[in-house]
Symmetry: C2
Subunit: 231 residues, 2 copies
DNA sequence: AAGCATTTGTGATTTCTATCACGTTTTAAG
DNA sequence: CTTAAAACGTGATAGAAATCACAAATGCTT
């Protein structure tokens, strides 16, 4: 099967998420493309095409078996063949992620956490022991881990990323707000919440609707500093 | 100006993010569309069109003034006219967000936090006092707050959302992994990290490249439960 | 059993997005 | 001063994505 386009993957995840809630509530085992479409604001045809793309066949006049849909989606992403992952950085964000119980549904199993704060080393967070950074590389090597979740402070992220790569990591889920350079064959997925924030801001800004002010400001010379507030 | 499409907004944010790092490092005050394009893997023409869409004019043979670009982008999103926001839920995630110093650059100012855990009420997190949930509605009303950040447990999120709406909130940045129902005029932006996770999973799964297994599984009847692991 | 309503699957069409190609402007060099 | 190179701005074009339209299939009702 040729690789699925990102936009399709995104919708598949939305279907999967909704169907999880759906089966928890309703006691029905089939769903139609228009039902899904209505809830998720996606055209029913699109739903059918997406399902077709991952080899799902619906039943005329009935719809799709929820159970089959979920299974097919899990298969596409490999959710039922969980990859072990390590968490690097056990601060607030690392803690929040470690204690999020929903990841199992997405095939994620965090098997170890690493932090260089001696006070944290040795403690357990939802069953996962926090180890010193020193132990990281041997641990990854020993267990053949391919995925790492990075929640370290920006200052050390690149250094840590280099070490992860040299230990054999093939994918980094990066929550540290910085750009990482890694070899071609290592996947970086940056989680930038600023994008979501920006969309909210744009909406609120649109409510204001003050076009003259905008133009007036743009007309002025740019005397303010470029980067008024620094992270 | 007609509203900008989401895909443009997304690129604008990527430009803004990069230019922040850029000016911090280099000591140059202009940048060309191809420089930006190379770094962000965006076609230079696209960069020029995006800049054109927000009223920016470049200079032939020179490029764009970084300072002007940043200012125009801030203007589009309203970043230099910060909206006060309240944080609801002061758990690990709430803490992580509250202590993230980068938000100021995106026009976000968190002015209060609310939690129903008596142990947390009265404490301060990076200068913001945690108050009881009771105080939430009057506080929002009194200060005319329009934006809320929701990091509560799924079980209470909808109830909280209802209260936020009735207090006058116009946009909710939702980190709680659940679907919220709110009136038409209230914007919900859901922050679902599962999407990022799924993309990483898809990549790793692709490395495996085991097509026969996939088809074999799909051919079997669907005897497993639909929702094998529950959050 | 027949007819009707509903739903799937898919080719055709439309709409949106990204890229190309090229004229224009500006700086720098010869 | 002239010419060349580099960058912008934008109409034209190609490529993706979403939607439409309709045949085929299936279940329900009478």
């Amino acid at each position: 099967m040729e690789p699925l386009r990102p936009v399709v993957l995104e919708r598949l995840i939305r279907y999967y998420r909704y169907l999880g809630e759906f089966t928890a509530r309703k006691n029905v085992d089939t769903i139609t493309s228009s039902q899904l479409g209505t809830v998720l604001h996606i055209d029913p045809t699109q739903v059918r095409k997406d399902f077709g793309a991952i080899g799902l066949m619906g039943i005329s006049r009935v719809g799709y078996e929820v159970c089959e849909v979920c299974r097919a989606i899990r298969l596409v992403f490999g959710f039922d063949h969980p990859y072990p992952a390590v968490m690097v950085g056990a601060g607030n964000l690392g803690n929040a992620l470690l204690s999020y119980p929903g990841f199992a549904r997405y095939g994620l199993r965090i098997v170890a956490a690493f932090d260089n704060d001696p006070k944290k080393v040795g403690t357990f967070i939802t069953g996962v022991e926090v180890q010193g950074i020193r132990s990281m590389k041997p641990f990854i090597r020993k267990h053949g881990i391919q995925m790492a979740i990075l929640t370290t402070p920006v200052a050390v992220s690149q250094t840590i990323a280099d070490r992860l790569v040299s230990a054999g990591i093939k994918a980094i889920w990066n929550f540290s707000p910085t750009r990482l350079s890694v070899p071609e064959d290592v996947l970086i997925r940056n989680e930038h919440i600023s994008l979501g924030l920006a969309q909210v801001a744009y909406h609120l800004n649109g409510l204001r609707e003050d076009e003259p002010r905008r133009l007036a400001i743009l007309a002025q010379p740019c005397d303010e500093p470029c980067n008024p507030m620094e992270k």
